[in-house]
Symmetry: D2
Subunit: 248 residues, 4 copies
């Protein structure tokens, strides 16, 4: 928190947008800039961005120590993220930092680390219609949405999605081509809250969709730390009751 | 499965028992041998053992491919387990192998990998009394036990235990010194079932306790794979409905 | 259990089939008979049936005491089921009897009782296609199924479905008309296991579908009691440690 | 909400305090008055009280419609609460009202209704020590507490407690006499949040304990509705995709 606002860092591998003209047309300043813009509209976040090619991928210890919620977008450069940075991010999540993984970040090192499963899914890029149904209408991440919202052209992500049973399945998507997908799921690990949200893609303007932007804002508010603690790890403790030490 | 029996591999770092006379007196052939003996009594397991100092820690791909349930005991040599073997074990769990982590294995690389949290806890070695209460009397792992069972002398493991919310808290322990602990907890990750059970220690004869032995047997039966599958990872799929490919 | 077989009772309000010719053509001997036939094919169940118009709706205490798993089908006669029988069924579920609620039983007294929520959903009877996706491929209820199965003509049941967060969402359905639904969900209440399965309808021959029949059989096997206990309710107990009674 | 404050109604059967001198000495104006006082100190609640002997037990439709969070304390008069009022309270919980059940309310009609299980437990009134351990240190209900807090003299409530698997086990209690108990557990049913908290008793001054008061305040803040909705029940809906009605 800074000036009463939640500190958000939006991370992007920032590759497609620099290497492919058709992608740059959709996200001229990068997907991170589009996500940051959506958050900035809400007015209660201090938003900064970080990308793969920055020193330490832009995620120094100092940056993370000052991050309440980290957004993650990656796709074809997952393997270039250093394990040391993944360790660092995981440690911060356990301490209380929120983590929002978007779309193809299902296969990022940090998401797979936090899930401990394969995170495999089906996919198809046919620009078909996706209808995102609200399954938990009372959940903070679903506030301000109707019963469903639509994405006119999407990359299909389909079940089976190999993730641990979520705490809450907030959204389930219907696809024109016949699949379904748990498209918004929540977890807690240590003190940190995690949200995975599948809509979004490099070649479709999904992060400009008003409902998607609402979800990004809601998710950042939901995942912001309630408490953060650096605990002493595995302390040896004295008894609280007057017992004898028989192990001496 | 082999001859209709469940294939169990019991892994032990096997250090205390070889390096300290007082530990060897409790487990002359190693903790793995005591756990294996408890399982062998049940009659429906093919039990083998593996230790840290074996090539590939005794956990070659072939061994794991033929293991239905893996027990894990480690304490002061967690750091000596190679990351490559941890990766291999994790992959097998996701495919369907059961994993039972015992006592100080709460801090093993494989348990921390599967939990993705700190797995920190409080501890005290005063040889105090532990009373293990059954919280899920209908759970397969609790079958044949009374409402609780006691361990006369234990190492205390106390909350807060930093683990993800378990699927089921099967046991909660009461300690003479004033603490409580979620001493038996279950998870599923991928196709694999995971059980953590805190009772057990190198210097107390806990793995000879009749109730503890029942839990080990029940846990192995519960964690044995129902199905195992090596899925194709992230397949690109054709639509199931007759839609047009607008992304061409 | 009887002769090593699981005792199943299939309950049906049995109204549509007697009052409407077009329904009778689909299920000439009643939906209960079709469900019973599917279970009988499996060979490991003793199957009996019970209907609304029998004395005590066919669910006497003796019948329930000898029932391991109860299937429930109702639709337009939910209100005619006596509260006393609902109390009795609930008590048996808590003791360990499995309960499988089918399709329009989402609004039965017993399902609403066990869920404690509204159990409201959207519906449409347009005979559209339903594709049932397997979300938990390792779950016993999904064994023997492919990645999905289809029902050519169904009544659509759509989200939002007002139920407590399930232990496991085994199936999610896709509908031609654009909705999704958590079509197979599990719970535990007391010692009893509960499964709700939405496919099935009085005017479509869904209970003859081979995949649906597999689900019915799997569900009965899964829900069969592992243990049953009639506990003493709220016992006053002596302390287990030598403490003084300061309340005297 | 009213004047930006959360509307809380504290319900009490108010029997012990009127009928027994020794209880009246502890809670001269009733347990509801003590709970209300603890909440009033927090400053962000409009607190009113209601008791069994009021018309409609003080829980008219109007009162409930204006209640964000309802506290419930009952013990020996559970049976005197009318089923109609229980139905009404359940309906409001499903719509979004928070429900906090205290101590012996584990056996109230409304708690048993929402749990759908027996809610049985062990008990002993020996005025022994209870140590309440925080199991979810990041949970809003645990804010401002240390790792544990103690209650010098309590009525013991012990496992097995027959409740559905909680969403979160926030507290686990240790007792001098040797038992453990899941003493703070959360649920969601419909839009409503439910918290059960076992500390508290008519003859011990537990609701004056500073830590217990913190929990009451935290619980009321946590359970306050995020959204409330009266949904149309089971609507028949038109398709969202252009499909043909084959059922005509």
């Amino acid at each position: 928190m800074n000036n009463g606002k939640i500190n958000v860092t939006v991370w992007n591998e920032y590759w497609h947008e620099q290497s492919e003209e058709r992608i740059r047309k959709v996200y001229p300043e990068g997907i991170h800039a589009a996500v940051a813009a959506a958050l900035n509209e809400a007015g209660n976040f201090n938003v900064t961005t970080a990308t793969l090619d920055m020193p330490e991928h832009g995620l120094t210890q100092e940056v993370l120590d000052n991050t309440d919620v980290l957004f993650w977008w990656g796709h074809c450069k997952h393997g270039d993220v250093s394990d040391e940075i993944v360790d660092r991010v995981q440690k911060r999540v356990i301490e209380g930092m929120g983590l929002i993984c978007l779309h193809s970040a299902h296969f990022s090192k940090i998401f797979k680390r936090m899930m401990a499963t394969d995170c495999s899914l089906k996919w198809r890029e046919w620009a078909e219609k996706e209808r995102v149904w609200v399954i938990e209408p009372g959940h903070p991440i679903a506030q301000g949405l109707g019963e469903y919202f639509e994405i006119e052209q999407c990359e299909m992500y389909g079940e089976h999605f190999d993730i641990p049973t979520p705490d809450k399945v907030v959204f389930i998507s219907w696809y024109e081509g016949g699949e379904v997908f748990r498209s918004g799921v929540t977890y807690e690990r240590g003190r940190g809250r995690i949200f995975y949200f599948s809509p979004g893609h490099e070649s479709f303007p999904i992060y400009y969709n008003e409902n998607v932007k609402k979800v990004l804002v809601n998710a950042a508010n939901w995942a912001a730390p309630r408490t953060q603690l650096r605990e002493h790890i595995c302390p040896c403790v004295e008894p609280l009751e007057p017992i004898e030490n028989k192990a001496k």
